[in-house]
């Protein structure tokens, strides 16, 4: 059969809407984005390498990726529990609590940043109890992790909830009838079925945490080599009119988020592939 770009439809407006979509997308997203890559490709490899391996910047990678990873793992565990209880159990104010899970999406990051700093600083609501135990949260990597956990929570919960809804009660009943106890059913039937969604939520939460800025800058304290996140270093470079350096670091971050996005997409491809039974 002859290859065709578009299959036949009686509905009008394809040319117009498609044209507008592509033009607007190019103007607002693709051309600006290509500016970054063109600028980066103008750098010599040596320059690039020197910038992105500067010890201060490497320290920021370690901090950003480390804290983001820990936060995403915390979210994977607790987000799973939150999603499970919100879908499976009934308790008072459930709908309200469910709505609040999206607070990190709705609350401007600067607000969450100063709020978390206020709570976890040494005379804050929670900080005052942690201080005597020798646990410092604000202005430490721990504080950064707290902020990133806050930011990433809805990703895990919101990815898991539909998967939990879709989980057929049949399969759990089948497992019970076949002699599995509840624990075996959970590990062998429920968790494997939810694993792709859990991984997706984990990756989304991780990706968001890597790029997060607003909620982190206040609680991090921004001490060079210690609590500087990579996003902040881009701004620092810009303030020093070092656009080249800023571009180089931005490329590293973009690369990281694209790798994660690719991972999410392949997980999702895997899910749809398996449930549709291709091969």
């Amino acid at each position: 059969m002859k290859w065709k770009f578009k299959s036949y439809s009686v509905l009008p407006g394809f040319g117009l809407t498609m044209g507008c979509t592509v033009v607007w997308l190019s103007l607002m997203v693709l051309i600006p984005l290509s500016a970054l890559f063109l600028r980066a490709s103008g750098l010599t490899a040596e320059e690039l390498w020197k910038t992105v391996t500067d010890p201060r910047i490497v320290a920021s990678y370690r901090l950003t990726f480390g804290a983001a990873l820990v936060a995403a793992m915390i979210n994977a565990v607790f987000g799973f529990i939150v999603a499970w209880t919100l879908v499976r159990y009934d308790f008072p104010f459930k709908r309200l609590i469910d709505a609040f899970v999206d607070l990190p999406f709705a609350l401007p990051t600067a607000v969450s940043g100063i709020a978390l700093t206020a709570i976890y600083s040494k005379n804050g609501w929670i900080g005052q109890y942690l201080e005597p135990l020798g646990i410092k949260v604000a202005f430490t990597p721990l504080g950064i992790t707290v902020a990133l956990t806050f930011i990433g929570l809805p990703f895990v919960v919101r990815t898991l909830e539909p998967a939990l809804h879709d989980l057929e009660k049949d399969t759990e009943e089948a497992a019970a009838i076949l002699g599995a106890n509840r624990w075996q059913t959970f590990w062998r039937v429920i968790l494997p079925a939810l694993l792709p969604s859990l991984l997706t939520g984990f990756a989304l939460s991780f990706a968001r945490a890597i790029g997060e800025f607003g909620s982190v800058v206040f609680i991090s304290g921004n001490m060079p080599m210690k609590t500087e996140i990579t996003s902040l270093l881009i701004i620092t470079k810009l303030e020093q009119y070092d656009t080249t350096g800023a571009t180089a670091i931005a490329c590293v971050m973009l690369l990281a988020s694209f790798v994660l996005l690719g991972a999410v997409n392949s997980v999702q491809w895997y899910i749809s592939h398996r449930s549709r039974g291709g091969s």
Partner: protein
């Protein structure tokens, strides 16, 4: 002989009334009655024991309190630390007003533009089959994958003094970076996918049968859109617009890069909060922040209401598509 169920023909004799009482008393063979004490309720097969359930609910509420409710409460408490008067005084500052104005302008331009784009793009994507569709969806989603600071940087690279258009802009005495147009541009960029990514799956789920019916009944493309498509997706559209607006008003990182923090001129509300906070004017910072927190609460409330509608609509769409496929 055919065995299709249901009575083939129902008729009524002219001399009798058609209403037949459908009460049947069928004696069920009563078997020997086991005398037994009250049946204990057995553990249902797909439930956890009560203590696990209570534990998990407690963990959920504890975790969410720690990470969501306490920070939210802290914003308001800090704002009112020195009473209502001091709190409200923060809004008497002209800088606060200009920040609010700028935020409204940026959102007021970015949200409608993205809404129109979302509708246009989802019509093209959800109503037609063409090659490269998934690539197009991925490209539309792209701004989500880019961290806010990098988004800001992109526009600095384009329009900043050392950027592509920098010299040209300087020659014509135009300023985009460290000025209002830059703020509007990054706001559009970061909120770009919100409406489209809500509408595309919804419209794909609903299918194009209704539009095809409208066309076959003689409606034009424009009429079809206004009378059939738009009413069908209005809740999904609302949902996307609400999220888009929340992000547009609340964005910090990207706007921070292009704004230049010129007090009274290029500060949006979140940036104003930062400035006040860095000046150790905590009460004012939290007062302005509480305005944003109220905005967040309104967003959540509206979002929940729309979600309830949307769930209903999705369920209906699924019901029709599943009856169609079986």
């Amino acid at each position: 002989m055919s065995l299709t169920p249901a009575s083939a023909i129902t008729a009524s004799d002219t001399s009798t009334n058609a209403a037949v009482p459908h009460q049947e008393t069928v004696p069920v063979a009563v078997q020997k009655n086991h005398s037994r004490s009250a049946v204990q309720s057995i553990k249902t097969s797909t439930n956890e024991p009560a203590w696990i359930r209570i534990l998990l609910i407690a963990v959920t509420i504890g975790f969410l309190s720690l990470f969501l409710f306490i920070p939210l409460a802290a914003v308001f408490t800090e704002a009112l630390r020195k009473g209502w008067g001091t709190c409200l005084a923060s809004f008497r500052d002209p800088a606060a007003w200009s920040a609010i104005k700028l935020t409204l302008i940026a959102a007021g331009i970015a949200v409608p533009l993205n809404m129109v784009f979302g509708l246009v793009a989802s019509w093209a994507i959800a109503r037609f089959e063409f090659s490269g569709k998934s690539l197009l969806i991925t490209l539309i989603d792209l701004p989500f994958a880019i961290s806010p600071v990098v988004s800001g940087l992109i526009f600095v690279l384009l329009f900043g003094s050392s950027g592509w258009f920098g010299p040209w802009l300087a020659k014509h005495d135009l300023q985009i970076i460290f000025a209002v147009p830059g703020i509007i541009l990054v706001t559009i960029f970061i909120t770009f996918p919100f409406v489209a990514r809500e509408l595309i799956p919804l419209m794909q789920e609903q299918g194009s049968e209704e539009e095809q019916a409208a066309i076959s009944l003689g409606a034009g493309g424009w009429q079809t859109f206004w009378r059939v498509t738009l009413p069908n997706v209005r809740w999904g559209l609302m949902y996307g617009v609400i999220l888009c607006n929340a992000r547009a008003m609340g964005e910090f990182g990207a706007v921070s890069v292009v704004s230049g923090h010129i007090r009274g001129r290029t500060n949006t509300v979140p940036l104003h909060v930062e400035v006040l906070y860095n000046e150790y004017n905590f009460v004012a910072a939290f007062s302005v922040a509480s305005l944003l927190a109220v905005l967040a609460l309104v967003t959540l409330a509206m979002k929940t209401l729309v979600e309830i509608r949307l769930e209903r609509q999705m369920a209906e769409a699924q019901a029709t598509s599943s009856t169609h496929s079986t």
